[in-house]
């Protein structure tokens, strides 16, 4: 077996047109009839995965709805602790990043690697900005005032006995969403590295750009609902 390893040919330098990861050199798995079928299967798989993500957040939205029905005063009081300006700013940041990532997919489809790299970098800056606003203006000031979830709640000026429950829903909802921001940014960094090093994406090979972009759009989709639920409904 060792001889087989030893016979492995030396790979050409990353970025050269003969590297197997260069987009023109990519084939498709033998169980597909053609690259199109492989692309469609990958995308279908990604959509199936996205439905499970939607169901994950549906659980949180359902908990929100139940406790809102039971304790409307606590929810009114809770949403008054949040500043719509930071929520709105983060909405704009995420919508903008969704646009840049969609433009990135378009750039890959057009074979414009530079535009793809540029769009991915802007998207990643938006992701960092989102997390920065969330931590600096929301999580850290609120936690330092004792507006913490459940039994960690130590804010003495609560308006309603169920406010700790509101904060539980707030931190779980936005926290799992922030986790998705990190995962989505990680995927986009992976795509970015491959685009820079190997020029791995082009008109016939952009599955990874497409599926990572779909994940990023999901992050945006969830925030589109979280923002009004937490910040605007009073």
């Amino acid at each position: 077996m060792a001889t087989i390893d030893a016979q492995k040919p030396d790979l050409p330098a990353p970025g050269s047109k003969s590297h197997p990861l260069y987009w023109k050199n990519r084939g498709f798995a033998h169980h597909f009839r053609n690259a199109d079928e492989q692309f469609d299967a990958c995308k279908l798989g990604m959509w199936l995965f996205l439905t499970t993500e939607v169901l994950l957040f549906a659980g949180i939205f359902c908990a929100y709805a139940i406790f809102r029905m039971l304790y409307p005063e606590a929810w009114t009081a809770g949403s008054h602790h949040l500043d719509w300006r930071f929520g709105g700013l983060n909405t704009i940041v995420l919508l903008f990043s969704s646009w840049t990532v969609a433009s990135g997919v378009r750039a890959a489809q057009m074979g414009n690697n530079k535009a793809l790299i540029r769009n991915l970098i802007i998207t990643l800056i938006c992701a960092a900005l989102f997390v920065f606003i969330k931590l600096k203006f929301e999580y850290i000031p609120k936690l330092s005032m004792g507006k913490a979830p459940g039994t960690f709640f130590s804010y003495p000026y609560a308006h309603d006995p169920h406010e700790p429950l509101w904060w539980s829903i707030y931190y779980i909802g936005t926290g799992i969403h922030a986790l998705h921001v990190f995962i989505g940014a990680g995927l986009l960094i992976w795509v970015l590295v491959r685009a820079i090093r190997y020029e791995a994406y082009g008109p016939t090979e952009y599955t990874m750009v497409e599926t990572s972009a779909l994940y990023w759009h999901l992050v945006d989709l969830v925030w589109i609902f979280l923002f009004p639920l937490l910040y605007l409904i009073h």
Binding site: L44, V54, F61, P161, L232
Partner: protein, 304 residues
């Protein structure tokens, strides 16, 4: 090794080793959304974001200015409809469902139908529990005791949590009393006392509620009396719901006068929580510890 039929090689002039199934290779051309469309969709999404914020703020403004309370559903319906429109735009154009195979859209629609069932059946359950028997009605009870974390069901402390037990009080009430006690201790220390007396506690309470109502004024809202403000510091500190002279000019009496008039009556023990759906078992008086003022008068459903 025996020869099988597969070993017989029949050359086929049409056979293409890179496309063994003869279905043709390469992309049939995926739909590429134009940059103009993407930009238009972004602008529409930003417009809807501004619209939903404006409508929400507008409702608050109408309520504050004309002193009316708009129905809650109005707020919910407007915000959720706009969010749904935005989500549809993101799915259709940014995620490309509109130009995609129908199967992907069908999967997402089935998922959304499942989510709607999930929310709908939960809502009709919670909202209609009293339809058959009033006893089954969902009764919102003051809740949120931290007891569960450091005590077992039998009430034996497991010492698993460094946080204090709240003695069957809601956490928010516990933290309020804790803060009042803290302020009373500061007051006592100023008068070289180790234990706060009645006046110190009254001072602590006045300080607390003053801060509480000031918070409203700072945010430019009318302060409202809190239901747990049982000594009515709202009145004593001269806050008013609709002061003709305007919110900014709310004047407070000096704290000295407030202490003098502080009634020496019992403090209500609040926040008895029998659990989310109120089975009533938590309404017994036995488990209640005395609070720091030592003048308990439990006000529960069961003993009135």
């Amino acid at each position: 090794m025996a020869h099988s039929i597969d070993d017989v090689h029949i050359p086929n002039p049409d056979f293409d080793p890179t496309d063994p199934h003869g279905t043709g290779q390469g992309h049939h051309g995926h739909h590429i959304i134009s940059a103009r469309t993407l930009m238009t969709i972004l602008l529409i999404l930003l417009f809807f974001t501004v619209l939903t914020v404006a409508l929400s703020r507008g409702e608050v403004w109408i309520q504050d200015t004309f002193d009316v309370i708009l129905p809650q559903w109005l707020n919910v319906i407007i915000a959720m409809s706009i969010a749904t429109v935005k989500a549809t735009l993101v799915c259709a154009y940014f995620m490309g469902l509109r130009f995609d195979k129908a199967l992907n859209s069908i999967i997402m629609l089935i998922c959304i139908a499942a989510v709607i069932c999930f929310l709908f059946f939960t809502a009709i359950d919670l909202g209609n529990r009293d339809a058959i028997s009033p006893l089954r009605a969902t009764v919102p009870t003051p809740g949120g005791t931290g007891e569960g974390l450091d005590k077992t069901r039998d009430g034996i402390s497991t010492a698993a949590s460094p946080r204090p037990t709240t003695n069957r009080m809601a956490i928010s009430d516990f933290r309020r009393l804790e803060r009042i006690n803290e302020l009373a201790m500061v007051e006592a220390a100023e008068h070289q006392r180790t234990e706060p007396n009645e006046a110190d506690i009254a001072a602590g309470e006045a300080e607390f509620w003053g801060h509480y109502y000031d918070d409203y004024v700072k945010k430019g809202k009318h302060p409202h009396r809190h239901e747990y403000d049982e000594h009515n510091y709202f009145e004593k500190l001269h806050y008013a719901h609709h002061d003709a002279s305007g919110i900014g000019s709310v004047s407070r009496t000096s704290l000295e006068n407030v202490y003098a008039s502080s009634p020496n009556h019992s403090r209500r023990l609040v926040g008895l929580t029998p659990g989310l759906f109120g089975d009533g078992s938590g309404h017994s008086d036995e488990g209640h510890a005395e609070d720091h003022a030592g003048d308990d008068h439990a006000e529960t459903d069961s003993d009135h």
